[in-house]
């Protein structure tokens, strides 16, 4: 089944909020409630047998704040499909898809660890990079690059790192590389 046919059959079966194409990549915007049904259909009927990645985006200052992105792939036909849905800050959780693709287990643990979104029905939702008891979610936009002090006795301590005029970031703009290049810039709190 080609990708176009797959998308047509998806659109016939589920309400799709939006469909975007960019450089040959197809993105379907769906709702949070349907992620499990759509993923199961994609795996069982459309041949998307491999989940490449799940990532999260923090659109800080917008509502809904978070966005989850699922990268589906078919090993047999080498087709890719991207699923997206938004998650509001008031209810920062989503249903797990780890029953469909076991690899989602660790992807979802990473998102929980770094972004603080929980996954309902996840069999083992622990932090995966930071340690148990670390109180922050470091990839959120309101978390400073330097970090915050914390202490879990006998496990780990953290301090804020000296940024010395930083953080050293690249500005998103169309200026030349010389103007955009990473240098010490104070960002407004």
């Amino acid at each position: 089944m080609s990708l176009a046919e797959s998308i047509t059959s998806l659109e016939g079966k589920f309400p799709i909020l939006a469909k975007r194409e960019f450089r040959g990549e197809t993105t379907l915007v769906i709702t949070r409630e349907q992620i499990v049904d759509i993923c199961r259909f994609c795996r069982d009927s459309l041949g998307f047998d491999y989940l490449l990645d799940i990532t999260s985006i923090d659109n800080f200052g917008e509502e809904p704040r978070f966005e989850l992105v699922y990268e589906l792939s078919s090993i047999a036909t080498n087709e890719h499909l991207r699923l997206k849905f938004t998650v509001s800050e008031d209810e920062p959780s989503a249903p797990t898809v780890s029953a469909i693709w076991p690899t989602a287990n660790w992807h979802e643990r990473e998102i929980y660890d770094m972004m603080g979104l929980t996954f309902t029905g996840h069999p083992d939702l622990r932090r995966i990079l930071m340690w148990e008891g670390y109180p922050y979610f470091p990839l959120r936009k309101d978390f400073p690059l330097a970090g915050k002090p914390s202490e879990v006795p006998e496990v780990a301590i953290t301090k804020a790192a000296p940024l010395e005029g930083g953080p050293f970031v690249t500005l998103p703009s169309t200026a030349t590389t010389k103007d955009r290049e990473p240098r010490a810039r104070r960002f407004e709190e």
């Binding site: 922050y136 470091p138 915050k148 953290t158 301090k159 790192a161 000296p162 010395e164 953080p167």
Partner: protein, 173 residues
């Protein structure tokens, strides 16, 4: 190094060497530094290169990489110390018997390096006393050997007997 610390004339003295006890102890220590290879990142690759045939850290008596802290004299912290790893490093350091020394190998172990971040300890010297810092990202094996020789020079000048056996010596008097 041996000439500077001890005088020896085989015709006159036979099997006897006259030297200071401090100098003899230091001479033995500095020529058999057993490292605890705390390899945490890419610096550990250079540490391995320093141990291999071309650079041959055995020339300086430090080839015996001990993976048990109880048998180690010098901890070579080679790599990025994350906060998650930091207290484990400290624990291994605490398990090493005195006298012990520490080499911070590379930018990360010395100061956090390029990782000005929430996840990285900004220098291992915040947790344990460092004797020698080695610059580089990662340092070449020659730099590690230079650091090791600096540490040997430092040990040669230490007041080993009195400082480290103070309680024992004071109990005699």
């Amino acid at each position: 190094m041996a000439e500077a610390l001890a005088s020896y004339d085989s015709k006159i003295e036979g099997n006897i060497i006259f030297t200071r006890l401090d100098a003899a102890i230091n001479w033995m220590r500095l020529n058999s530094l057993w490292p605890m290879p705390m390899g945490l990142a890419c610096c550990a690759i250079e540490l391995m290169a320093a141990g291999a045939a071309r650079y041959d850290i055995a020339r300086f008596g430090a080839e015996v990489m001990r993976f048990s802290p109880r048998q180690s004299d010098v901890m070579i912290v080679a790599g990025t110390v994350t906060y998650k790893m930091a207290l484990a490093v400290k624990r291994i350091w605490d398990q090493m018997p005195e006298p012990k020394w520490c080499i911070a190998m590379g930018a990360c172990a010395s100061s956090g390096g390029m990782y000005r971040s929430y996840a990285v300890l900004q220098g291992i010297d915040q947790l344990l006393p460092v004797d020698v810092y080695i610059s580089g990202c990662p340092p070449r094996p020659e730099a590690l050997l230079e650091g090791l020789m600096k540490l040997q020079r430092k040990i040669a000048g230490e007041d080993s007997l009195y400082e480290q056996k103070r309680v024992l010596i004071e109990s005699f008097s």
